[in-house]
């Protein structure tokens, strides 16, 4: 038996044990358990399998494992009650489980931000603003006028970006509330049709349907279009300023800058265009020579033919 089989069987056994215990306990108690061995076992198993997998597979299975965790975590909240518990408030449970759409989407897409954020995380923005503001409190630090103006500009841009991010994330908080309401409506529809939701998967699929519908409506609104634009524009403004400042430092150190690279790219592009134009001329020339040669070959034949007549 290979290592993977061994780990797989161990993991399954651990899960079985957990669920048996858990199932017995939920009958006795309505309180939420704080630790979650099946999730820990899943993580442990995945950590042991992942290194052996190719990159594409690691990414794919990582997402699958993450989604599985999300699916069962949310279902767990609905299952933590005894059969005869009449006080179970499913509407509140839905709010608690699905309310934080911002976190859920971040879990799905890996980030809330359309453009990879690099060093622009919430914490680093806070740190940068605080650092730069502190810097200005020291008199005679040696910052020149240009440098100071750049730093101030940077602070302004960081603050704009931070605001755009907060507004964008707030939109998702509101969206989460709308999605919860839609899900509650869908669950009520199921109920009024005489049906019941009896599996985690069924609940999850209904939630996806509700959220996707609300999302599609909301992200087409002028509000979202503005927030999305402002988020990217303000992030680009920060990056551009960052680059300008770095370029200035690199120039002072005699190191190549973005400006230098861009100039080289422009030169390469112009050269390539010139070469292509020359190649086109050469092709035309070749065609023209071929045509002339063909004419020459035809002409003597014509003359010979007219002589024969």
């Amino acid at each position: 038996m290979g290592e993977q089989d061994f780990l797989g069987a161990e993991w399954l056994a651990a899960q079985r044990d957990f669920w048996e215990h858990w199932s017995a306990q939920t009958k006795a108690s309505n309180e939420r358990q704080t630790d979650n061995p099946w999730e820990a076992a899943l993580d442990q198993w995945w950590k042991s399998v992942a290194p052996a997998a190719p990159e594409l597979m690691q990414e794919l299975l990582g997402k699958t494992v993450a989604q599985a965790k999300q699916l069962f975590q949310m279902a767990e909240l609905f299952a933590r009650r005894s059969d005869d518990d009449e006080s179970f408030d499913w509407q509140t449970a839905i709010q608690q489980t699905f309310g934080d759409l911002r976190r859920i989407i971040a879990g799905i897409t890996g980030t809330m931000n359309p453009v990879p954020e690099d060093m622009l995380s919430e914490a680093s923005i806070e740190d940068s603003v605080a650092y730069l503001q502190r810097l200005f409190t020291f008199p005679g630090l040696g910052l020149g006028h240009r440098s100071q103006a750049q730093q101030r500009e940077m602070i302004a841009r960081l603050i704009d970006y931070q605001k755009a991010r907060m507004d964008y994330e707030r939109f998702f908080v509101d969206l989460g509330n709308l999605a919860v309401t839609r899900l509650q409506e869908k669950v009520a529809e199921v109920e009024s049709g005489g049906g019941r939701i009896e599996s985690a998967r069924m609940l999850y699929d209904l939630w996806v349907e509700a959220s996707e519908a609300v999302y599609a409506e909301q992200v087409m609104t002028p509000d979202y279009v503005r927030l999305y634009g402002e988020l990217i524009n303000s992030q680009m403004a920060v990056k551009l300023q960052m680059r300008t400042m770095l370029d200035d430092s690199f120039t002072a150190l005699g190191m190549p800058t973005t400006r230098d690279f861009r100039a080289l790219e422009q030169r390469a592009y112009d050269d390539r265009k010139a070469i292509k134009a020359l190649q086109k001329e050469m092709r035309r020339g070749k065609v023209s020579v071929k045509k002339k040669a063909a004419k020459k070959r035809v002409a003597p034949r014509k003359r010979a033919a007219s002589r024969d007549r």
Binding site: L12, A53, L71, I94, P114, V115, A188, I197, E198, Q266
Partner: protein
């Protein structure tokens, strides 16, 4: 009784069942091996910078009479063209060969910083035009048939409008023409975008940005539910491999040459200039009325990337009278890869071309 009634025992069973599937699925996926990009045999007939022009080799045992006019496929600059040849039983290219077409395809490759300044003029009047000349020269013809896919369809419309004499028939597949229909999510999102600032800052546009954007069109389905449902479809090696092929394609997004991206977003999406006859490529105006050849326009009825109305806008906007529309009951990707599409689209294209 609450409408949500998930019993702990049931949930335990569900988790265990899912875990078993996950375990079996991982073993199956790990055993799949290398995922190839494209399945049909082909030869390189021309290369220029990052571009490669391929000719697909017909089945030597096929008795089908070839159309004498070659067919050149112009794929989008986003994503990779092997979607058209993704697997043995789901290959648009293979089906086009079987329908008697001599198939060529432009693979744009992966642009890097040297390509940052490439413009749409370079792509349309440069690369596509030179590929057209190469194909015509090889086949000793003056005209070819052009098949543009998605953004490649928009580029093909531009090319045909500017070089009508070289195009005998034009086919557009899932191609946006009106970029500002009310149901176009992508279009809505870019209206407030400062694309000059984006390109100035990023240079080339990262493929990751495009991936995020496409997934964000349906984040719950494409980013979450798909993976939850994945394990249900991993019951044999071939299905596992097919899933991986598709997954590889989805995330195989080349960076976009910055200048071309800037022009495409501004002119096509923000100004909707294609249907207004105001697209400017290297100082030449693109007027769709200059397209006088027969046009076959294929769109997906459930396309969430290029809504049907965005494609259908072509009707009445070209100069010629021979215009045919085919509505396919599927989405943007299904139009090349679904079993239904394989049975419908390539034979329709083949018949339509062979009649012209």
């Amino acid at each position: 009784m609450a409408p949500i009634d998930i019993k702990p025992e049931q949930l335990a069973e569900e988790v265990e069942g899912y875990s078993r599937k996950l375990h079996a699925g991982v073993e199956r996926l790990l055993g799949v091996g290398e995922i190839e990009a494209g399945v049909s045999p082909r030869e390189v007939v021309y290369q220029e910078d990052k571009l490669t022009l391929y000719r697909y080799l017909p089945d030597p045992e096929s008795a089908v009479q070839n159309n004498e006019t070659p067919l050149l496929i112009v794929y989008a600059l986003v994503n990779r063209p092997y979607m058209t040849d993704i697997q043995e039983d789901r290959s648009t290219i293979k089906s086009l060969l079987a329908a008697g077409q001599e198939v060529y395809l432009i693979d744009w490759g992966y642009p890097d910083s040297v390509d940052r300044l490439l413009t749409l003029d370079d792509y349309v009047n440069g690369y596509i035009d030179r590929c057209v000349d190469q194909v015509c020269q090889r086949n000793q013809v003056d005209q070819l048939n052009l098949l543009g896919i998605c953004q490649g369809g928009a580029l093909s419309l531009c090319y045909t409008a500017l070089h009508q004499a070289k195009v005998r028939n034009l086919i557009t597949m899932v191609t946006p023409v009106d970029f500002q229909t009310q149901d176009n999510m992508l279009s809505a999102w870019v209206q407030h975008l400062d694309v000059d600032l984006l390109v100035e800052t990023q240079g080339n546009i990262p493929g990751e940005f495009l991936n995020w954007t496409f997934l964000a069109l349906k984040p719950f389905t494409l980013g979450g539910q798909k993976y939850v449902h994945l394990l249900d479809s991993l019951d044999d090696d071939e299905r596992a491999k097919n899933f991986l092929r598709m997954e590889k394609w989805i995330f195989d997004s080349p960076d976009q040459a910055g200048e071309a991206f800037r022009q495409f977003i501004k002119q096509f999406y923000q100004q909707n200039a294609l249907i207004k006859g105001k697209v400017d490529l290297g100082g030449r105006r693109v007027n769709l009325k200059k397209i006088t050849c027969p046009v076959l326009n294929i769109y997906g009825e459930q396309d969430h990337l290029v809504p049907p109305r965005a494609s259908m806008a072509l009707k009445g906007r070209i100069g010629g009278s021979d215009y045919t529309e085919v509505a396919f009951p599927g989405g943007h990707i299904g139009v090349y890869v679904s079993g239904k599409a394989q049975a419908l689209i390539p034979p329709t294209i083949g018949d339509w071309l062979n009649q012209r």
